[in-house]
Amino acid sequence: MTQTLTRPKTVVPPPPAPPRRKKHRDPSRYFRLHLPLVLYLLFTLIPFYWMVVFAVRPAGETSLVPWPITFEHFDTVWNGVGFGLFFQNSLIIGVGTLITVTVFALMGGYALARFKFRGQKVFLLALLCTQFIPGAMMLIPLFVIFKSAGLLNSLTGLVIADTAFQLPLALILMSGFVRNVPIELEEAAMVDGCSRLRAFFAVTLPQLVPAIVAVGSFAFIGAWNNFLFALMFASRQDKFTLPVGLSYALGEFNTDFGALAAGGVIAAVPVVLVFAVVQRFLVQGLSAGAVKG
């Protein structure tokens, strides 16, 4: 607010602008911009296309533009192999992790951004240090903990493990987002008689919606994609997740590429769609300063 008020004082006549190059007439743009972009798009999209073609192409055909398409492979993996159940398990774990990570990250992020408390620096340092802890190398002790807590072959156990490993980074990101919401708004609400809690829900939370969408989606994607924990801690087939089912499919379907591809499409569609919608928020959020803490 104050900026807009003081700005007129500093306005000076702008220096004569340098003659602007007509951007779209510049032929070097084709080599600098369009050519590499098209090449990179091909590199990104051909593998996806390959998978989709295999998934909808009747077995035995080799056409690159299959028509008519078939859904027999989807039927095989969804009903025959059990990908329907794996999908459900992955969805439960993904949504569960989304909720716990988002709520705990909001709480912790708010604490870091809005309070000064003893041990704050140590806490922040500990959060950063967790980024160097390799999940793969923790499998042995985690397995022991899970076994003694009775969390093996349980979807709840996987939600807890995914939450524990994703929470630190989500919390750091969230504290950056909270810090970007002007504290004055909240203080004004508190002067007007709101409790801090009420001020948070009425004033700050609505401003954090893009941040919540971004952090929540990435928690979902991370949990949906997690392979090692699901492989190690859920060995019963009715608790398999999509990545685990796929990893077995990689071995079993060595000849049935159609089924493998259909399973891949099932695993890819939800996360790629979610990501396509939220990647904009991520870029905005990060450039708003979350990266620099």
């Binding site: 870091l112 309070f115 499998l139 002790p141 939450t163 994607i221 990266v291």
Partner: protein, 291 residues
């Protein structure tokens, strides 16, 4: 707001509990196990053995050194290529052109794909009978029946390309976010001073991106060092242990031979190496000194 209340502690309590149980305690227990003989198959021999595991690792285990060497090669090649390609990609999609939002969503999309799914996709693409090389051979490019994953000469580049497909968007997203914070008048000022495109990139863009580059390469290096799911499912560490990384070796010790004590010693070695190089890297790059 300087307050002395219990509120912040209550707010971070769930995080502290989760970190304590699932991160701090496991590290401590890995540290303890690394000094013990601990196998599931021979529990009567379990017990404290001092530094015996480390002696065995350093002086008798060739596969440890081999997997460590491959891990180093993997991290340097992957992170280097991902950084360069990610920076180029970020610069491209930071320009203004028609369909930019769609182009961004498309080129970033592999980021959301899991390691196992990436393997599935690329196995379809690489397979010798109906893969892309067979297709290219039909059009007269290359030989039919090329099996890039089965041939020791091509398995490394083939694995690197697969991980690049998924890894480049990470750098592109982080660097694009930072590119957008560069004030446009810096470039205008540089142009007025007669700086060409390359000069503007070197003198304005790169210095501004420095901290983001340092942070993203460090995070990514740790991540690639620890990356298991892609290599595990794509090559399984083969052929002939050629693509076995240290974490993959640990997982195999723990899962296949149930040798928890020795696996923990390998884990500690990985930790110390990561920690050492992270601190060294942050020191050398003088991270954060600009601010």
């Amino acid at each position: 707001m300087r307050t002395r209340t219990w509120a912040p502690y209550a707010l971070i309590a769930p995080t502290l509990v989760l970190m304590g149980v699932f991160l701090v305690y496991p590290i401590a227990s890995v540290g303890w196990f690394s000094l013990c003989q601990h196998t599931v198959t021979q529990p009567w021999k379990n017990g404290f053995i001092g530094f015996e595991n480390f002696r065995r690792m350093l002086f008798e285990d060739e596969l440890f050194w081999q997997s460590l060497a491959f891990s180093a090669k993997w991290v340097v090649v992957e992170v280097g290529l991902q950084l360069v390609l990610g920076l180029v990609l970020a610069l491209i999609v930071n320009e203004t052109f028609i369909g930019r939002a769609l182009a961004r969503a498309l080129v970033f999309s592999p980021w959301a794909v899991s390691g196992v799914l990436t393997t599935g996709i690329w196995i379809l693409l690489y397979n010798p009978s109906t893969g892309i090389f067979q297709q290219l051979a039909q059009w007269g490019i290359g030989d039919p029946g090329t099996s890039v994953l089965g041939d020791p000469a091509t398995v490394f580049p083939a694995t690197v390309v697969t991980e690049l497909w998924r890894g480049v968007p990470f750098f592109a997203i982080l660097l694009l976010a930072d590119l957008q914070t560069i004030p446009g008048d810096l470039y205008e000022a540089a142009s007025v001073d007669g700086a060409g495109r390359w000069r503007r990139f070197v003198s304005v863009t790169l210095p501004h991106l420095r901290d983001a580059i340092v942070l993203s390469t460090l995070l990514r290096a740790v991540w690639e060092f620890n990356n298991v799911d892609l290599i595990y499912t794509l090559t399984g560490g083969g052929p002939a242990n050629q693509t076995t990384t240290l974490p993959l070796y640990v997982a195999r010790k723990a899962v296949d031979s149930h040798d928890f004590g020795y696996g923990s010693a390998l884990t500690m070695a990985g930790f110390v190496i990561l920690l050492f190089f992270s601190i060294l890297y942050l020191r050398v790059s003088k991270f954060g000194s600009r601010a």
